[in-house]
C-alpha cells in the first residue's frame, strides 16, 4: 500500500512538471518520506509508478479504491491488467507508454477495467521519469474515475437533445395552428362573398327586381369568388402534398436553363410579348424538376402580379460555386417588409392591398428550395425599383435520408 521505496521518482524530471511525483517537495530528501505518505493518503486519484517495461511499482489508496486491487496483488504485474481486452490486444498499454516517453507526457480519457471486470471512464496522465543522465527510469501515472461525471454529462446531453426536440415539435404545432387559422380565414372570405351574392339574388328575385344586368353582375361576382376558392384550395393541396412528400424528391440530372426557359415561355405566351426577359447560363444540376418548375413559376407569377404590365420581369440563371443561382427581378412596387416575412404562409407585404395573391406561392417556393438544401431570399432593389428574388440550389440536394 505504501509507495514502493525502490521507486526512483526523486530525480528532477526533464520534461515539464505535471505529475505530483514531480512536486518541488521531492527535491528535498528530508521531505520525500512525508511526500510518500501524502501520495498514499490521496483517495480521489490513483497515483502509482510504472517501470520502464510497464509493470506496476507502487500503489496508493486512491488506486486501490478506483481499481479494486490491493498493493500486494498488483505490484509487479503488467499495467495491461487495467486495460480492456480490446485495448490490450491492440497494444494500447505499450503504445501509451511509448507516446509518453516520446512526447514527455500522455493524457487520454478512455475505458479501463477494475479488478472485478467492471469498466470505468478514466482520465489518465502518464509522465516519463528520467534520472540525471536522461535515462528512462519509469513512469508516473495519475488516474481519475470520471464515470459519474461522464454519466451526468450524458444525461445532460440527452436532456438537452430532448428539450430541443420538444421545442421544435411545439413550434411545428404552433406554426401548423397558425397556418390552419389563416387558411380558414382565407377560405371563409370568398365563401362569404359567394353566400352574400346568392342572398342578393334571392332578395331580388323575391322582390321581382332581378333584371338581366344585375343577374349578370352577381353571377360574375359569384364566379370570381369561386375562382378564388378554387385557386386557394389548389395551393393548400400543394402545401399538403409538400408536407406528406417529405422524403420523396424525384431527383434527376437536368439542364436548369431549359427548365427555367420553359417556365418563362409558358408565362410569356399569355402576357405582353417581351415582358419577360431571360438571361440563362447553362447549368446541369440534380433537382426534382417538377418541384423546381413550381418554384420558378411561383416567382415569375409573383413578379408579374406585383408589377405593371408595362414593366419587364427579368429572369436570370447563372452558375455558382457548387450550384446554381436563379434570380427574378421585377420593377414593381417592391416588398414592404415591415415585419412581414414574404415567405411565411399568407405573409403578404403591408403594401399589398388587393387580394389577388393567395399568399402561399412564396411559402411553397421556400419549402421546395429548402428541401433541395438551397436558400431563397427577397430584397428590394434601390428605392421604388421593384423586388428581387434569389434562389440558390446546390448541385445536389442533401441525401434523401437526411432530408
Amino acid at each position: 500500500m505504501a509507495i514502493n521505496p525502490q521507486a526512483r521518482a526523486t530525480r528532477a524530471p526533464r520534461s515539464p512538471a505535471r505529475s505530483p511525483a514531480r512536486s518541488p517537495a521531492l527535491e528535498h530528501r528530508p521531505d520525500a518520506h512525508a511526500f510518500r505518505l501524502l501520495v498514499n493518503a490521496v483517495v480521489d486519484y490513483a497515483i502509482y509508478l510504472i517501470s520502464p517495461d510497464g509493470r506496476v511499482q507502487s500503489w496508493n489508496r486512491g488506486a486501490e479504491r478506483i481499481k479494486g486491487y490491493r498493493a500486494a496483488e498488483i505490484i509487479g504485474k503488467p499495467i495491461s491488467a487495467f486495460y480492456t481486452p480490446e485495448d490490450a490486444a491492440a497494444g494500447r498499454p505499450e503504445h501509451n507508454l511509448r507516446a509518453a516517453e516520446e512526447r514527455g507526457h500522455f493524457t487520454e480519457q478512455a475505458w479501463r477495467v477494475r479488478k472485478d471486470g467492471t469498466r470505468f471512464w478514466a482520465d489518465i496522465v502518464l509522465t516519463p521519469l528520467r534520472d540525471e543522465q536522461g535515462t528512462l527510469t519509469g513512469f508516473a501515472k495519475v488516474t481519475r474515475d470520471l464515470t459519474e461525471r461522464r454519466a451526468s454529462e450524458d444525461r445532460e446531453r440527452q436532456l438537452a437533445v430532448e428539450h430541443e426536440a420538444r421545442a421544435a415539435a411545439e413550434e411545428a404545432l404552433r406554426s401548423r395552428e397558425r397556418f390552419l387559422s389563416i387558411a380558414s380565414h382565407e377560405l371563409r372570405t370568398p365563401v362569404a362573398s359567394l353566400q352574400l351574392a346568392i342572398d342578393a339574388l334571392l332578395i331580388r328575385q323575391e322582390r321581382g327586381t332581378l333584371d338581366t344586368q344585375r343577374l349578370d353582375e352577381l353571377l360574375h361576382r359569384m364566379e370570381r369568388a369561386t375562382e378564388r376558392m378554387t385557386r386557394l384550395l389548389g395551393e393548400l393541396l400543394d402545401v399538403s402534398r409538400l408536407n406528406e412528400g417529405d422524403r420523396s424528391l424525384q431527383v434527376e440530372r437536368i439542364e436548369l436553363a431549359e427548365l427555367v426557359g420553359d417556365v418563362a415561355d409558358r408565362f410569356a405566351e399569355v402576357g405582353r410579348p417581351g415582358r419577360i426577359v431571360t438571361r440563362l447560363e447553362p447549368v446541369a444540376i440534380d433537382v426534382d424538376a417538377s418541384r423546381i418548375d413550381q418554384v420558378v413559376s411561383n416567382l415569375i407569377d409573383n413578379a408579374l402580379k406585383y408589377s405593371s404590365d408595362a414593366e419587364t420581369v427579368d429572369v436570370r440563371l447563372h452558375k455558382a460555386d457548387d450550384g446554381a443561382v436563379i434570380e427574378v427581378f421585377d420593377a414593381g412596387r417592391g416588398i414592404e417588409m415591415d415585419g412581414v416575412d414574404p415567405f411565411e404562409p399568407f405573409g403578404r407585404g403591408a403594401n399589398v392591398t388587393d387580394t389577388q395573391g393567395l399568399g402561399l406561392g412564396l411559402f411553397i417556393a421556400r419549402q421546395i428550395v429548402h428541401r433541395h438544401g438551397g436558400t431563397i431570399t427577397a430584397t428590394n432593389r434601390e428605392a421604388g425599383a421593384g423586388a428581387r428574388f434569389r434562389v440558390f440550389l446546390p448541385e445536389q440536394p442533401p441525401s434523401q435520408s437526411a432530408a
Partner: protein, 132 residues
C-alpha cells in the same frame, strides 16, 4: 328607419359592393371603404350611424381604426363582420355592438345591423323566410 347611414369597411371588394347594394335597397344610406384609413377619411365628411367593420385589413386594421376614431373624439358604433377566429374577444376589446362571423346569411347581418342602430327594419324581407 330610412336614411340611417352605414359605412361598410372591408378589403374584399365583392363582399363590400354586394353588401352595400343590399343595405341600400333596404333603405339605408350606405358607403364603402377598403380599410380603416379610408373609413376614417369618410367619417370626417360623412358621419355614419354604424360602421360594419372587417377585422383583418391590410392598411389599418379594426383595432387601429377604433383607436384612431376614439382619438378623433368619435364613437360610431361598430358591428364586426369577419372571418377571423375569436370574434367576441375582439368585440370586447373595441367595444363593438355586435359580431357576425363570415360566411353569414344576409338576414343575420341585417338583424344585427338593425339592433346596432336601435331601429326597426326598413323593408326586411328575408327575415320572415329565414325563420320558417
Amino acid at each position: 328607419m330610412r336614411g340611417r347611414r352605414i359605412l361598410v369597411v372591408d378589403d374584399d371588394a365583392t363582399l363590400r359592393e354586394t353588401l352595400a347594394e343590399i343595405l341600400t335597397e333596404d333603405g339605408f344610406e350606405v358607403r364603402g371603404a377598403r380599410d380603416g384609413r379610408e373609413a376614417l377619411d369618410q367619417l370626417e365628411t360623412w358621419p355614419a350611424d354604424l360602421v360594419v367593420l372587417d377585422l383583418m385589413m391590410p392598411v389599418m386594421d379594426a383595432d387601429a381604426f377604433n383607436a384612431a376614431q376614439q382619438r378623433a373624439g368619435r364613437r360610431t358604433p361598430i358591428l364586426i363582420v369577419s372571418a377571423a377566429p375569436h370574434l367576441s374577444e375582439a368585440a370586447d376589446r373595441i367595444g363593438a355592438v355586435g359580431i357576425v362571423s363570415k360566411p353569414f346569411r344576409i338576414h343575420e347581418l341585417r338583424e344585427k345591423v338593425i339592433r346596432g342602430l336601435g331601429v326597426q327594419p326598413p323593408n326586411g324581407t328575408l327575415e320572415s323566410r329565414a325563420s320558417n
